[in-house]
Every structure is written in structure tokens, then in C-alpha cells.
Symmetry: C2
Subunit: 119 residues, 2 copies
DNA sequence: ATAATTGTCCTAAGCACCTAAGACAAAATC
DNA sequence: GATTTTGTCTTAGGTGCTTAGGACAATTAT
């Protein structure tokens, strides 16, 4: 997958977020096999331990399931995937609107700018 | 002013961003006096040096002007303030749309969700 | 059976960030 | 003239993040 990492904050939350996005967007289909830690780390250009930290968080959430020695699989729980997708979208929307408000933009203005930015 | 700091990333960029927002939103009027480093640091609950790092960046950008021993003032350059306000808004919009796309939302859907989130 | 794979744990080192506190020159204030 | 204020610089210490590499048990592959 395509990685977009920067040094403005710790790398492992960025890995976590981008893998979450990839899963809820269907890039890694539910129930199917997931790449190994070592492969993913090499692909992202980070250390094995850094990637593991991201993956173990996704496991706590329930998005990934670990089978000790035969790798990981994406959860088969579609309800969970949909729920997380909506939560991420909601948080993104709220953060966006909060910052536009902090910059002094009126709601009506925000809608216009979004429509303009989409075409 | 109201501070909103978390430990997800370094504090000084957060201070920088929130002060920028306050200035472009008019909370600190252009050309007028700006609080001292020590006062601002105490208000935000951070160390003097951390606040200074944020302020020196705003000085490099040109938003603040330092008068060695008589404190700082907000720039009187209204064009600069407007320009920075628009750049921040633009970056915010692009980041928002990029993430919604990464989550697999269609543009039309995004507009609807924004309109819903605003009322 | 042997070798490779996989997730996981561990130690060590380097680095940036943050706090704390002392110090200084220059200007403002009294 | 003496004191305070202001921005700035400096040193020191603690913490979390990241890399690097070694190690292990359990499973898979050959």
C-alpha cells in the first residue's frame, strides 16, 4: 500500500491510522490474510518494532486477528468495520469544522469552499 | 486565550498553530501589543522556552514583530494576515478531503455530511 | 527431520522534545 | 539612579520515539 509518513508526530500512530483507513476502505478485504509485520515494515520503510506497535493496537481494537505463527487476518466482523469507518469520518468532519471556525469562517462559507474544492 | 494542547505531537507547533489561528481570526488585532512570553507561557501552562520557540517561528513568518525590550506587537500588514488565513483554510480543506477520500467516501456524500454537520 | 517463517520480547543507542532554572543586555518604570 | 521588565541564551535532566539487532517458541514448508 501507499504510505504517507512525516516527522511531525510519532510514526506508529500514523501507521495505525493509515492501515485503519486501508481496511475500512476495503483495500484489505475482511476475513482475508494480512501481510506479515516484517513485510509491512519493509514496505513502509520503518523498523519492525515500530510496525508491530501499530499492528498490536489494531488488534486491540479488533480489526486484526493474530494467529501466532501463521500470520494475521483482517476481521470478518463487517459491523465493526462499518462502525470504525463512520467514527473516523465523524472525527474528521468535526476536526475540520472546528478549525474552520477557529479561522473565523462562517458555516455558509465553508460549504461553498468545500463544493469548490471538489470539482 | 483558550488553549487546546495534547501529547499526540510536540507542543510548540500546537502553540504556533493556535496563536496563528487567533491572530488571523482577529482575536489579537493587527498592529496592537501582544502578551509577553512569560505571560503567555504561564497562561498556556508550558515552559517559557517552549512558548518562545512558537513565538520565534511566528516572527520568522512575519506575523509578530519583536521590540527587544518592550515586548511584541502583531503585524500591521493586513495582506499578510489575509494570505495566511487563506493558506491555513486551504490546507485544512485539502487535508479533510484527502482523508474522506482515503476512507472511501464519494464527493457527493462528503457535501451532504458537511451540510448535516453544520446545522 | 530439517530449515524457514511468524509473532513477540529484549537490550542498547541516538535523537528530539519538554521542563527547570540561571544568567545577561537593553529598555522601561519608578 | 535603582529596580523591574523583556527577549534571549545557556546548561542540565528526564521522557518517549525510533532504529538496530539478537533471541525464542510454535507453526509451516521443504
Amino acid at each position: 500500500m501507499k504510505w504517507n509518513l512525516d516527522d511531525s508526530r510519532p510514526i506508529w500512530p500514523q501507521l495505525k491510522e493509515q492501515i485503519m483507513q486501508a481496511i475500512v476502505a476495503g483495500e484489505y478485504p475482511k476475513g482475508e490474510a494480512f501481510p506479515t509485520v516484517r513485510d509491512l515494515a519493509e514496505d513502509a520503510g520503518v523498523n519492525r518494532n515500530t510496525m508491530q506497535r501499530a499492528l498490536s493496537e489494531l488488534e486491540n481494537i479488533g480489526l486484526l486477528i493474530t494467529n501466532r505463527t501463521s500470520g494475521r487476518t483482517v476481521t470478518g466482523d463487517d459491523g465493526l468495520i462499518v462502525k470504525i469507518r463512520e467514527e473516523l469520518a465523524q472525527a474528521n468532519i468535526e476536526g475540520f469544522l472546528r478549525e474552520m471556525d477557529a479561522l473565523g469562517y462562517e458555516p455558509a462559507e465553508v460549504v461553498k469552499m468545500i463544493e469548490r474544492g471538489l470539482k
